[in-house]
């Protein structure tokens, strides 16, 4: 798979002395959906801003589609669409003219048919002649996406796309992103909603304090760090875990009404069958069992805490 975005040794120290990025290296593959996860202030927006040309890097290089963002900025930027985090839109222009404006800005000849297609896909077509200031917040968010797509980018940055967005728009957005991937567009989204990364991403990067501490396929990440838990609900509460079961490191929960067994699902013999047999042998009767898998959120929290 070829690399679409290549970031190497990228650092950013702002004028006030704040270090937003510390020697970041990152490669994004062509056509993938990459989620950049991190808490507020981790450097996500700074990273995107440098790639898009809004912030000057202190050191390091960035290449988009093989084009350096400084020396060959025209070619690099032509490939990029950016949906910023803030709802920054014009006020008095119409939806249609604002989207056409962006297309022109990115050096593409006017193409009303294409703009219509984009507006329709974002349910904005009915609003095409409305002034932007009359749109709701959700509609403005759609407009920003339409603007970013107006020049047919090959790389799309979505900076916190679903912050403050209702369920319907969120679902529309996810569908849109999947559609873009089918067209071969590389999508990079930043989020602090784990659910979003879990739902959409092919690969996940975790950034905190300006450093990328992990980049992994989503599935691998979930495998690697995912713990499973088996909870056994008992007939009768017990005061102590029987000696015979000590090897399982069981935790007593719910005032002794349940026991929890934590195991690694990837192991060949997770020991569930043995545990249940040993419970029977020890005379602990149970009425129900259930298993849970740690979510990306748990993984994330444990990573960022380190």
């Amino acid at each position: 798979m070829t690399t679409m975005l290549s970031v190497s040794n990228l650092s950013k120290v702002y004028e006030g002395g704040f270090t937003a990025l510390k020697a970041v290296d990152l490669d994004i593959r062509r056509g993938e959906i990459f989620a950049l996860l991190g808490p507020n202030g981790a450097g996500k927006t700074t990273l995107i801003s440098i790639v898009c040309g809004l912030v000057n890097a202190s050191t390091g290089t960035v290449k988009v589609g093989g084009h350096d963002i400084v020396t060959d900025y025209r070619a690099a930027r032509s490939l990029i669409g950016l949906v910023p985090q803030e709802l920054t839109t014009e006020a008095f222009e119409s939806v249609f003219s604002a989207v056409s404006f962006t297309r022109g800005l990115f050096g593409k000849p006017a193409d009303p048919a294409y703009i219509e297609k984009v507006l329709r896909s974002l349910s904005l077509w009915d609003k095409r002649n409305h002034k932007i200031m009359t749109l709701s917040g959700g509609m403005k968010r759609r407009l920003l996406i339409a603007k970013a797509l107006s020049h047919e980018p090959r790389v799309l940055f979505l900076d916190e796309p679903t912050a403050g967005v209702d369920v319907e728009l969120r679902r529309d957005m996810w569908n849109l992103v999947r559609g873009l991937r089918e067209d071969g567009v590389t999508v990079i989204l930043t989020t602090h909603y784990i659910e979003e990364a879990e739902e959409m991403a092919d690969r996940i990067g975790v950034i905190t304090h300006g450093e990328i501490i992990l980049v992994e396929d989503k599935a691998t990440l979930m495998h690697k760090l995912g713990k499973k838990q088996l909870t056994v609900h008992l007939h009768e509460p017990i005061d102590t875990v029987p000696e015979a079961l000590a090897a399982y490191a069981l935790e007593r929960t719910d005032d002794g009404h349940a026991l929890t067994y934590t195991y690694d699902a990837e192991r060949e013999h997770p020991g569930i069958a043995d545990l249940l047999a040993d419970l029977n042998a020890a005379g602990v009767g149970f009425k129900d069992v259930n298993t849970t898998q740690s979510s990306l959120e748990d993984i994330f929290v444990s990573l960022v805490k380190q």
């Binding site: 809004l54 912030v55 000057n56 025209r74 690099a76 950016l82 920054t88 839109t89 297309r103 050096g107």
Partner: protein
């Protein structure tokens, strides 16, 4: 050259002017007409001719300059400041557009607007007083050069300003006083000798003088000097804009 981008920004800016027609065209025309009524008709009739030109006609080039200067500065400064204020400047900065193209588009639009306005005022003045233009090409040259130079100045102010107050500050506190004291309404030869010398440090004197010369053949300083000073000011503005973009001053952290 990203011509589509230049066209997009230029049209965007011109659309803004038509949307705010009252503010950008009608109100300057009305205020200039008031000057003609007050200085030209009411007071002007009691003022003797200046070097053989009636006072009403004499002030026409100065009034056009006044409008050209203030409108170029305010148009251009607002044009670039507003997207900075709302944040929509991100689009322009992230687009495959060179700095030169950005400047051509914004400054070109602002200059176009003030040239349209200046032409309207010239036509309006023709309704009130007699006007003759002795050197039409020179007149056009000063007209266009001034519009572009002061639109560049406005562009610089729009990037420097970090609030609406500062945006008003330079036009109100510097451009307007310099224009009034720059011989828009009088020949600097009417001043006492000391103030004549002081006035020569005012760049607007050269603009007004050169412009008036192209109308009536009357000049406070030689037309060549006027042209030279205008070009010098243009070069200084271009230099500052180049510096702004090279360093990313107030645009790129």
């Amino acid at each position: 050259m990203n011509l589509y981008a230049i066209k997009a920004i230029y049209r965007f800016e011109m659309a803004r002017a038509w949307r705010t027609l009252t503010q950008s065209i009608i109100s300057p025309v009305i205020s200039t007409s008031l000057y003609f009524v007050v200085f030209g008709a009411a007071i002007g009739s009691r003022i003797p001719e200046v070097d053989g030109v009636s006072y009403g006609s004499f002030i026409v080039p100065g009034l056009i300059m006044l409008a050209l200067l203030t409108q170029s500065v305010s148009n251009a400064s607002f044009g670039i400041y507003f997207p900075r204020f709302t944040g929509t400047i991100y689009e322009v900065l992230s687009a495959p557009v060179s700095y030169l193209e950005i400047v051509i588009a914004y400054v070109g639009a602002a200059a176009t607007k003030s040239l349209i306005l200046g032409s309207i005022i010239l036509a309006t003045a023709g309704l009130f007083v007699d006007i003759r233009i002795e050197h039409p090409l020179w007149m056009l040259l000063f007209f266009v050069l001034t519009a572009f130079t002061f639109s560049l100045l406005g562009f610089i102010i729009g990037i420097w300003a970090d609030g609406f107050e500062k945006l008003q500050l330079v036009p109100m506190l510097i451009v307007t006083p310099l224009t009034f004291l720059g011989g828009s309404f009088y020949s600097i030869h009417m001043l006492p000798p000391f103030w004549q010398t002081v006035t020569l440090f005012n760049p607007v004197v050269y603009l007004v003088s050169g412009f008036r010369w192209s109308f009536y053949g009357l000049a406070d300083v030689s037309p060549a000097l006027s042209l030279g000073m205008t070009l010098l000011f243009l070069v200084v503005c271009i230099g500052v804009v180049a510096w702004i973009f090279r360093t990313g001053y107030r645009l790129k952290p």
